[in-house]
Structure formats: C-alpha cells, structure tokens
C-alpha cells in the first residue's frame, strides 16, 4: 500500500510542476485523467478488488454472443 502511494506521489511530483510551469493545460488534464485511472487500478489491485479483465469480456463477446471460435481440443 505504501509503495503504491509512494510511487504515484512520485509520478505526480515529477510531471505536474513541469506541466504547470510550461502552462500546458491540455496535457495536464490528459495526464490527470490517466493518472486517476492508473491510481484507482493500482488501488484495486493492492486491495485485491477483482479487476474485470477486458480479455474475458472479449472472449465472452466473441465466443458466446457471436459464436466465432476455433474447435477446442
């Protein structure tokens, strides 16, 4: 848990002051969106909250709904 906080604080410390000084607001917003996503994912991983894997969804979509798949076994 502490490492997660440490790492993300570090990422924040390094990028944000630079972006503000150079007044790149668009980059700052993009950065913060991704930053929040990354942080929440990290948090969920550390707190062992099950993260839905996109590939499982894809597998479900392709195999069950669309029914395209190679014969198994």
């Amino acid at each position: 848990m502490i490492f997660l906080i440490l790492i993300y604080a570090f990422i924040f410390l390094i990028n944000v002051p630079g972006l503000i000084k150079r007044k790149e607001w668009r980059e700052l917003t993009a950065f913060s969106i991704l930053y929040v996503i990354a942080f929440t994912l990290g948090l969920m991983y550390v707190l062992d909250i099950p993260i839905p894997s996109p590939m499982k969804g894809l597998q479900h979509l392709i195999v069950d709904i669309l029914g395209i798949e190679y014969p198994q076994g």
């Binding site: 490492f3 570090f10 390094i14």
Partner: protein
C-alpha cells in the same frame, strides 16, 4: 532544468524507488542451499506412500577439520522422507534439512525395482515438471532398493551419484547399455507404440567390498516394467539404433580352434520399414568397421582369405545378436526398436490401423538384416607370437 534532464532524473529515481520494494524472495544464500546430487525413489512399507532419498552435499572440509572425526569422512548425506507423491516427499524433507532441496545439480534419478515393476508413469511427472529439474538428468532402475545404491561409498568419486553418472557415461566403451535421460524417457512414454528403456544398476555382492555395476537395461511398456535385457540383448538393440560406438565381439577363428576377438570402431545403421501387400517388413542395413585386437588361435589370420572368413563370421554374429534381441522383444511384446514410430512417420495413412492393434502386429514383423562388416586394421601384430606348428 531542461525537460530532458527532468525525465532522466525522474526515471532514475523511479527505478530506485522500486528497489525499495520487498526485495526478491527467490534469493537463496549459497550456504543455506541443500545441493542435491542424486535422488532415489522407492516404495514405502505403507501402501500408496513412497520413500524418497536425496543425496545432499555435506561440506566435509569445514566440518571435518572442526570437530575431529565426527563425520565418518562421508562428503554426502542421504536424507530420506516419506510422502504420498514425489513432490510431497520432496517438501517433507525440509523437516530434516531445514532448507528446500536444490535440485538443479541433480545427476540421476534412481527408481527402486519394486516401484519400476509397479509402474513409473505416476512418479515421472514431477521430474518433468519441476522447474529446477534438468531434462538431461539420467533415469535408472536399481536392482533392489534405490536407497541402498545411493548408500554405497565409491572408491574414487566423493559422491555415489557422481559415480553412477560416470558409470552410465561409460556405455560408450562397451555399448552393452545406453544412457537414457528424462527427455528421451518422456518421448518414448508419450508415443503409443515405443517401449521405454532405462539402465539397470545393481550391487556386486563380492565378499569384502560391494561396488555398483551396470547390469543391463529394463524395458517398460506404458510405464510398467515388462522385462530385463542382458548386456548382449542390449547390444543387438544398439546395432539397430546405430548407437554402437565401441565394444568387443568374439568370433570363432576360421580353422575351428581358438577365437578371434574384434573391437568395434564404428557402426552405422539404416532402418527402412516397408508395407508390402499387408505385411510389414523392416529392412536393416548395418555398416560396421572393426579391428582385430586379439587372437587366441595360432592360425595366421593376416591374409585376405582368413580376414574374409572372419568378416563373414562377424556379420553372422551381429545378425545373430540382433535376432536374439528381436526375439526377446517379441517375447516381451515391447517395441524397443521404435519401429512403430518409423511406420508412423512413413505411412501416416495406415498409421491409425497400425496404432490400434500394434500389440498383435509387432510379433508378426519380420526383419531383413544386411550387415557389412569390415576389418580395417590388425593393430600392432600381424601374426601371433606363437610359432605355428608348420614352421617348427
């Protein structure tokens, strides 16, 4: 500071930040490693359990000088434990050794005779799957209990396991047995038709010292032992597989009294299976070069006619050895030559039919053996030192 510098700094710090993470658990100091050089697997008295003996390196240098002659100078320690499965037993050894076993340097896995008879396929899986286990580790069968084999202190080598590995490697000189490692055993185990082989090691029961010797091969069919091959039978097999590297053949000399002893220098074999009108024929062509290394007959063999006759006798002897082994395999109904695989590779269409009733087909195979033996040198002597009667 410039943008570039900041990025370099950030990544370097980021890198070091990571380093503070809970260091790597797979770090194991060298002196708390239990280096295993040999493993023996035997059946335990309780049914369903196995007895695993691991030969661990004991650093005698340190201990012997320290507390006098406490250890009887043995550089190894055979620790054993019981378990329901191989891995279970391996883990339970830690009760005694305090550290997990380090199997990477294991030279050989020896199965007891009773376990081999009952069937290896349940116990081989761990040795293929464990990431520390090397696929080049040797597989052997012990006559009696594997732990006894591992207990015998060799004269020259420090560790019995090294001694066994050296003995197995010595097949090159006599080609009366051959080396089987995990991968080869696994590939035969997987194939539907081939029989698996493993060298047999036993203890010579002479009076004063009992040493280990290789006493032939053991034949398995789908993991279950079906029989044993003596040294000559194994040689016949090796002729067909083309693995004969050296060895001695004794042939009666042309004039009837005494023998000519030949050393095999090089041998090549070419096996081509063929299905002719419903019948499977195996053509075996063997080219062999040998040198006359001894002669107990007083006859002068150093002329072409005599050498010709010896070469025919040699070819006949080799053919006999191969037929001997083939009859034995027919008797055990185990395809030790791997003819099934060759048929699979050549006739994939008929393979389905062959595979299903291979046990009936195999005895009906017939071999056409064509041996070309040549004697290329007679070493130092041309004529025997014994004066032949005629000249006296």
């Amino acid at each position: 500071m410039g943008k570039k510098m900041k990025i370099i700094l950030k990544c370097l710090l980021f890198f070091f930040m990571l380093m503070t993470l809970s260091g790597c658990l797979s770090a194991r100091e060298i002196n708390d490693l239990e280096i295993v050089v040999g493993i023996g697997v035997d059946k335990d008295e309780e049914p369903g359990k196995i007895l695993l003996t691991a030969q661990v390196v004991k650093d005698t240098a340190g201990r012997a000088s320290e507390n006098g002659s406490e250890g009887d100078g043995k550089a190894f320690w055979n620790v054993s434990s019981r378990g329901n499965s191989v891995f279970d037993a391996v883990r339970q050894i830690t009760y005694k050794t305090g550290n997990r076993l380090f199997i990477s340097h294991n030279k050989a896995v020896i199965f007891g005779y009773d376990i081999a008879a009952e069937g290896l396929e349940e116990y081989i899986d761990y040795f293929l799957r464990a990431h520390e286990m090397r696929p080049t580790a040797l597989i052997l069968v012990a006559e009696g209990r594997a732990s006894d084999i591992l207990n015998i202190k060799p004269e020259i080598e420090k560790f019995p396991a090294f001694n066994i590995a050296k003995l197995v490697d010595s097949y090159v000189f006599t080609s009366n047995f051959y080396k089987v490692n995990m991968k080869e055993f696994a590939s035969c185990l997987m194939s539907d038709t081939s029989a698996q082989m493993a060298p047999l090691v036993s203890i010579a029961q002479d009076e004063e010292s009992n040493d280990i010797y290789m006493s032939g091969m053991v034949v398995f069919k789908r993991g279950k032992m079906v029989g044993k091959l003596t040294h000559d039978e194994v040689r016949g097999l090796l002729w067909v597989l083309g693995k004969v590297t050296s060895g001695v053949i004794i042939v009666p000399s042309p004039n009837g009294q005494g023998k000519a002893v030949l050393e095999i220098i090089k041998a090549k074999s070419k096996v081509t299976p063929e299905i002719k009108d419903g019948k499977i024929v195996i053509h075996i062509k063997i080219k062999e070069e040998s040198s006359l290394s001894e002669q107990t007959t007083t006859e002068n063999l150093a002329d072409n006619k005599a050498l010709e006759k010896i070469q025919e006798a040699l070819a006949e002897a080799i053919r006999r050895e191969i037929m001997l082994t083939f009859d034995k395999s027919r008797e055990l109904d185990a395809d030790i030559f791997g003819f099934g695989e060759m048929l699979h590779k050549k006739y994939s269409k008929e393979w389905k039919y062959i595979k299903d009733n291979w046990d009936e087909i195999y005895p009906t195979l017939d071999l056409i053996i064509d041996v070309e033996a040549r004697i290329i040198k007679t070493d130092l002597l041309k004529k025997p030192a014994v004066p032949s009667e005629g000249e006296k």
